[in-house]
């Protein structure tokens, strides 16, 4: 079970579309998922990420395009023949079955021999630490335990692809962090191709091999977590990835730097010479703003000490900015500090198209 599947379990999504009546909700999405890869579809609610996952699972019809699992086009293959397992947001555990029966259900339907069922169930239970809970019913479990049973049900199937539909959103914050690392560890152990849907960009950043950012039924950007963080392709991704989110200031690119609408001039890094005079959006992540005695004047609005770092909201040129400093700030609200951006990691976006300059 832990050696993974023979053969390729890649997933290819080619120009997939979904329409409900005349309303199109997914507009031609292309994603290639390699064998063993952990891909996270992330985006705000209503962006089509869950619909896409359900199309991979076969729970929704595909209005256009093609989905392949391995070498096989699965557009018209019923869910049970796609060799996939899904973990639902509400876990969808069968309430009238014990944990063991929940996990064994698919194998019982396949009429697998009892010894094989017992072996696989106990092995999955061992991986997930459910051995003592096998005779319990779902109602008698905590949220995190139910989550694990749902994963156990998927593991027992030993499928080609795991699908996760917002599996952690019903858990409290602490448990979510714990399950996050458990799922990641599980993937490293089983090396099964995984598609995971979430609206939480932190989950996406921490777990994924590859993130697909979706918005309004299209893919905004696709890539490794840190690539998306370092070089967001457009304003949407820039604002979506990262916490606290990137500061975005409107203005114009000039030879001296970036002039905001408030008249402040921010120093910026290298940028194409022909972009001077262009209306643009200047992006700087909170952690890339430094204290500098010769920097821009900024009035402190709120100070939030976190211990390891300090978040400060400042007002500069009429706009609020969030800054994160490693050093402890003693400034009080109303006082003035001087800040400057790390020009190596500033971002510029075209004001009209939102694309990265």
């Amino acid at each position: 079970m832990e050696t993974g599947k023979d053969g390729m379990a890649s997933v290819q999504i080619a120009d997939v579309r979904k329409a409900y009546g005349s309303t199109q909700v997914i507009h031609g999405v292309d994603i290639d998922i390699d064998d063993g890869e952990f891909v996270i579809l992330v985006g705000p609610s209503g962006c089509g990420k869950s619909t896409l996952l359900r199309m991979i699972a076969g729970l929704e019809n595909i209005s256009g395009g093609e989905i392949r699992i391995g070498p096989r086009v699965v557009n018209d293959v019923p869910p049970k023949e796609r060799d996939i397992a899904m973990v639902f947001q509400n876990y969808a555990l069968y309430p009238h079955m014990t944990v063991a029966d929940n996990m064994a259900f698919s194998m019982k339907l396949r009429k697998a021999p009892k010894s094989e069922i017992d072996e696989r169930v106990s092995k999955a239970a061992q991986i997930l630490g459910l051995t003592n809970l096998l005779e319990r019913f779902p109602r008698q479990l905590s949220g995190g335990q139910r989550q694990r049973v749902a994963m156990g049900r998927a593991i027992v199937r030993d499928p080609q692809v795991f699908l996760f539909d917002e599996p952690l959103s019903n858990l409290d914050a602490k448990l979510r962090v714990q399950m996050r690392s458990e799922i990641k560890e599980l993937h490293q152990r089983l090396k099964t191709t995984t598609v995971y849907v979430t609206h939480d960009q932190i989950e996406a950043m921490t777990m994924a091999d590859k993130i697909v950012v979706m918005h309004d039924g299209i893919v905004e950007q696709m890539g490794a977590p840190l690539d998306l963080y370092d070089r967001p392709a457009n304003l949407f991704v820039a604002a979506f990835i990262g916490s606290p989110s990137m500061n975005l200031l409107k203005g114009t690119i000039t030879a001296a730097g970036f002039e905001t609408e408030g008249g402040t001039i921010w120093p910026i890094g290298s940028h194409p010479a022909d972009s001077n005079g262009k209306a643009a959006v200047f992006g700087i992540r909170p952690e890339h703003i430094k204290l500098d005695p010769n920097g821009l004047q900024a009035e402190v609005v709120v100070v939030e000490p976190m211990g390891s770092e300090t978040q400060v909201v400042v007002r500069c040129g009429g706009q609020n900015l969030t800054c994160v400093f490693r050093e402890r700030i003693t400034a009080k609200p109303g006082e003035t500090i001087r800040i400057t951006p790390d020009t190596a990691v500033t971002h510029l976006f075209d004001a009209a198209t939102g694309k990265r300059i």
Binding site: L59, F88, A92, R139
Partner: protein, 318 residues
Amino acid sequence: MAVAAVETRTAYKLDQSWLVRLFDYKPFLIFICLLPALGLLTVFLSYPLGLGIWLAFTDTRIGRAGSFIGLENFESLWHDRVFITSVWNTLLYTGVATLGKFALGLWLALLLNNHLPFKSMLRAIILIPWIVPTVLSAIAFWWIYDPQFSIISYVLVDVLGWRDTYIDFLGEPWNARWSLIAANIWRGIPFVAISLLAGLQTISPSLYEAAMLDGANAWQRFRHVTFPMLMPILAVVLTFSVLFTFTDFQLVYAITRGGPVNSTHLMATLAFQRGIPGGQLGEGAAIAVAMIPFLVMATLFSYYGLSRRKWQQGEDND
């Protein structure tokens, strides 16, 4: 200053009247609040029930107070062929009609749980047999079962030509029994269908999706998901349905009045027949009292059937 203020503070005792104190006394308040309900129950439930049971042990007739005669009424009923027939009729009527209602009601509920066009209108139409007053539908069935004007006979004989003679629905004992059972099923389906539909709608669609991914076909999804999750509500509806059918009076009395030759009497209709038109209040009451053991059995069944199943117990963390 503050310390002094605390020291000089006196506890004021509220000067309450005894009435106020009485109403603040919890047991009294509970008693007062229960009184209206208790009164209604006593007057309209306990008294008639008690009187009925008492009458069953007397030889009371209409217009003449009776005296206590012990079990004599029950002894004579034991040898009364009409009464024995009515017991068997009641059991048959309840058994077959309940089976029919559940088979058809569940089927209808499963159909209505799908996405059908005009779904809400269909659901409303389904309820009609239940909403129509029983006597009205009984009269309609009377016509449907009429020996000369029956639409069923007309269709079978004159339209389809499958038979040569009209069916005597209510003139033959067995024809009459099946006809009554059919009418009762027709009336009972809506209750079963709508209750089970409510139960079906509490089952999360994601369970079906999970079962689908687990490889279950439509029958397996019904067998392993729908049915077990419907069991609790099924038990409730079954109990109610059995109780209603067992004590049915209106339909039978309006369509056949127990005829032909007392062959379709249920215990309830026979009790009325002997007690009111027949004037033998004591004997009628005894027949009614004889229903009690059956009803107690049905209630016990529901008590154990309804007790929460193991999987329904435990903490619900949702």
